[in-house]
């Protein structure tokens, strides 16, 4: 390949396989100094593998990477960081027992003795620059996910890197923090720093990036200037076909009220929440980070106790004190923390699907593999889970398919009310549209769906009615027709 001095990073013919399956095949990339370069593609397209190779977390089987005109053969993250490549990881990689400052500077203490005081000062300045009010001495484990992500960002930019890889940096932060991040990206750009930007949020891609490189199934598809390509063509490049409409139409007829919540309150979390959801209906729960959406779901599902109010199911008042009781009563909950609470990565697709309903597949304590396999097979085909077989470990599935496995597990208990908390977080657009179809499917089967989401297009596209929360209070209950991004935001910011 020819080296071009304009480019800070040049990649050619990169190939990587995992146990015989090609994750990357002949991938190329050229990145200019001071450029924000989006890497796009569906989940499983190979973006994360690609970035991990650049960062030294994985080794390529073949291909070349040139950084500042020199071939990069680093085999460790240590080396990559030293050369000037740093990364904001999608899965937040932080040590919970260490403080914010200790995490930001972890791995870069250049003396054998610790200088925490100096580092705390530096961390404080950095965080202020990011618009964060955060004590650098707070232990990481006490932070919210959004705050952790901001610390992850602070850590990556504090390295004085020449190339910063950002793998979904905004998946857990609010708009205000996104603005602060974008301001910093523009500053870094002006200083000649190149940014590799991975995100599934189209509006961000159009707002901040200059160039887009698309991967599909581990292969290089093409590179375009952001201003030259519209949404429709970009999605077509990513999925290899044109998606007519992301959100399938709501065709299910509405039935009786399945879930009714009356004046639900929990001190310090939310107060006086009332709503109802009918069979065949999707109720969207919108609001900013910390508005109390997840807390309400947890209270209904029996994960947390609440102080006041009532929950009614099919016209009967119920008292639910544990998730077991909630499941028995017909409520299913798919957590926002897919990795932490949703599935067991080391178990197979089959084992995960039947995990909470094993009793039905056992006789006198002995597992009946036939009935287990039957259910697993049916779920896999109904939900269109893409796995090599039902014996494949869930760890190796893409995010979208992992989410389907979790939903499949929840459906085993035949719930009538399903609460989905951020069902498409970190999932690419192709898989998103499948999850949306799946949600429509659930309503067509007569279930009531409560969907919590931070993505307004998703809320607007899927919900029949939208409950907007602000700081634990319910500020609006909008019909589909009267809702728009602006009205929802106005109510979400309502004091």
């Amino acid at each position: 390949m020819t080296l071009n001095p304009d480019y800070i990073l040049q990649v050619s013919n990169l190939t990587k396989s995992f146990s015989g399956i090609k994750a990357l095949e002949g991938v190329q990339l050229n990145v200019r100094r001071g450029e924000v370069h989006a890497i796009m593609g569906e989940n499983g397209a190979g973006k994360s593998t690609f970035m991990k190779i650049l960062m030294g977390l994985l080794q390529a089987d073949a291909g070349q990477v040139f950084f500042e005109g020199e071939e990069l053969r680093h085999s460790s993250v240590h080396e990559a960081l030293k050369r000037g490549i740093s990364m904001i990881h999608q899965e937040i990689l932080m040590v919970p027992e260490l403080t914010v400052a200790q995490n930001i500077f972890l791995g870069r203490e250049n003396t054998p003795w610790l200088k925490d005081h100096v580092r705390e000062q530096e961390a404080a300045e950095l965080l202020t620059q990011l618009g964060m009010k955060l004590n650098p001495r707070t232990k990481m484990k006490y932070l919210s996910v959004a705050e952790m992500q901001m610390v992850e960002i602070a850590k990556a930019i504090s390295n004085n890197a020449k190339v910063i890889i950002m793998d979904e940096p905004t998946s857990a932060i609010s708009d205000k923090e996104v603005d602060a991040l974008f301001k910093i990206i523009r500053d870094l750009k002006a200083q000649g720093v190149a940014i590799l930007y991975i995100s599934h949020k189209m509006n961000e891609i159009y707002e901040i990036t200059d160039t887009i490189t698309v991967l599909r199934d581990g292969k290089y598809i093409g590179t375009k200037s952001t201003k030259d390509i519209d949404n429709k063509h970009l999605i077509a490049m990513m999925v290899g076909r044109e998606i007519e409409s992301l959100f399938p139409l709501a065709l299910a007829s509405k039935g009786e009220v399945l879930l009714e919540v009356k004046n639900l309150s929990s001190k310090g979390k939310f107060e006086d929440i009332s709503f109802e959801v009918k069979a065949g209906e999707v109720l969207g729960l919108a609001g900013l980070m910390g508005a109390g959406r997840t807390e309400i779901a947890r209270a209904i599902f029996g994960l947390d106790a609440f102080d006041g109010g009532e929950v009614w199911l099919k016209g009967e008042k119920v008292t639910i004190k544990s998730p077991q009781e909630a499941i028995k009563a017909g409520i299913g909950y798919v957590s926002e923390d897919r990795k932490g609470l949703g599935f067991i990565p080391g178990l197979s697709v089959k084992q995960n699907i039947t995990l909470s309903s094993l009793r039905r597949h056992s006789k006198r304590g002995l597992l009946q593999s036939k009935s287990e396999e039957e259910i697993a097979n049916r779920t896999i085909s109904e939900l269109k889970i893409k796995a090599s077989s039902m014996e494949q470990k869930v760890r190796y599935l893409s995010g979208g398919n992992q989410q389907k496995v979790v939903i499949g597990k929840v459906l085993q208990a035949s719930p009538e009310v399903v609460i989905l908390d951020e069902p498409t977080r970190g999932i690419d657009i192709g898989a998103k549209s499948e999850i949306y179809k799946l949600i429509r499917d659930l309503t067509a089967r007569g279930m009531a769906v409560v969907m919590i989401s931070s993505e307004l297009p998703e809320i607007l596209g899927m919900s029949d009615r939208i409950l907007v929360l602000s700081q634990g209070k319910q500020t609006a209950l909008l019909n589909k027709e009267e809702a728009s991004q602006e009205t929802i935001m106005r109510y979400a910011m309502h004091e």
Binding site: S76, A80, L93, V95, L106, G107, T111, P112, W113
Partner: protein, 332 residues
């Protein structure tokens, strides 16, 4: 005989592992300190012999060996690992040192240094196998426990090695300005270990590796180097304990140190080190070791037989961790 011992340890081990895996923290530094003070107060009311300088000298001297081992294993447990080979390292070190510590042969530094070298090598070997093979530390060090015991028996031809020089015996039995040497060694080791853990970059990396290995890796920390350092350090401290023990009993015993690793792990856990890694302090471990020493001393003074002492000790380990887990969940 060997087989029997092995079985007993294994059984105990499973209890330790399984009980503490679920619930990962010990009493925590402050809780354990309060418990320690309360038990001391209680014992001093029950028996006047307890709160005397001579009795405390005995307690601390007896505790010193377990404390040294516990410091070492604390490093290891904070990284999320475990070292079961400590008792065997004690035996190997003792036999090696004793064989070079006869009167009028080498100066006393030779057996000491060679003994420590033996322990350091065993620890380093643990580290190499664990980092290169990715076999869990539990299994690697379990193997090393048996290998070490075999080595000690081979090197000593199965017989105790006695007739050691006075200089060598001074290490475990001597006094400087009225203070027994083991206590001085204990204090120095404690200070150094605390500094390593709290004030050095290595210490920070030890917490980071145990707290979140992936994050440590992504931060550019060479995780394998940290693990190597930790097992080597642990082997070195076990060697020091082996030399202390050999000198105190004035014999190199190939059967010495059986089960010592479990007492050491118990001290670390009682002192608040989490078996899932990422937390723990040297102060906690020291108090954990002292607590074990004080209780067995107290029970001795009360003429409770050693059979019952074991039952009490086991209950205390479990109690300490259960209390702490209540503490933890009430904080949430």
């Amino acid at each position: 005989m060997n087989n029997l011992v092995f079985k007993r340890e294994n059984k105990y081990l499973y209890t330790v592992k399984n009980t503490f895996k679920i619930n990962t923290r010990g009493l925590g530094q402050y809780g354990i300190f309060v418990a320690f003070v309360l038990i001391c107060l209680l014992l001093s009311f029950i028996t006047p012999k307890f709160l005397t300088v001579s009795n405390w000298t005995i307690i601390i001297t007896q505790v010193s060996i377990n404390a040294l081992l516990a410091f070492g294993v604390t490093f290891v447990i904070i990284t999320g690992g475990i070292d079961l080979s400590l008792g065997s390292v004690v035996a190997v070190t003792g036999v090696v040192a004793a064989s070079m510590a006869h009167p009028d042969t080498y100066p006393v530094v030779v057996p000491v240094l060679v003994g420590i070298l033996a322990g350091v090598s065993m620890g380093a070997l643990n580290g190499v196998v664990i980092t290169k093979s990715k076999v869990p530390p539990f299994i690697v060090t379990l193997g090393m426990m048996t290998i070490g015991r075999g080595l000690a028996l081979i090197l000593s031809k199965g017989r105790p090695i006695s007739n050691l020089s006075d200089e060598f015996n001074f290490i475990g039995g001597g006094q400087i300005m009225g203070i027994p040497l083991p206590i001085i060694i204990l204090i120095i080791a404690f200070v150094i270990c605390s500094i390593i853990l709290k004030k050095t970059v290595l210490g920070r990396y030890i917490y980071a590796v145990g707290g979140n290995e992936q994050a440590a890796k992504a931060s550019g920390i060479r995780v394998n180097k940290v693990k190597m350092a930790v097992y080597t350090l642990c082997g070195g401290l076990a060697a020091l304990a082996g030399i202390l023990l050999t000198s105190r009993i004035t014999t190199g015993q190939p059967n010495a140190g059986v089960g010592f690793e479990l007492d050491a792990i118990a001290a670390a856990i009682i002192g608040g080190t989490s078996t899932s890694g990422g937390t723990g302090t040297m102060t906690g471990t020291l108090i954990g070791a002292l607590l074990i020493g004080v209780i067995s001393n107290g029970l001795d003074l009360l003429n409770v037989t050693s059979y019952y002492q074991q039952v009490v000790m086991g209950a205390i380990i479990i109690g300490a961790v259960v209390l702490d887990s209540w503490n933890q969940s009430s904080q949430k």
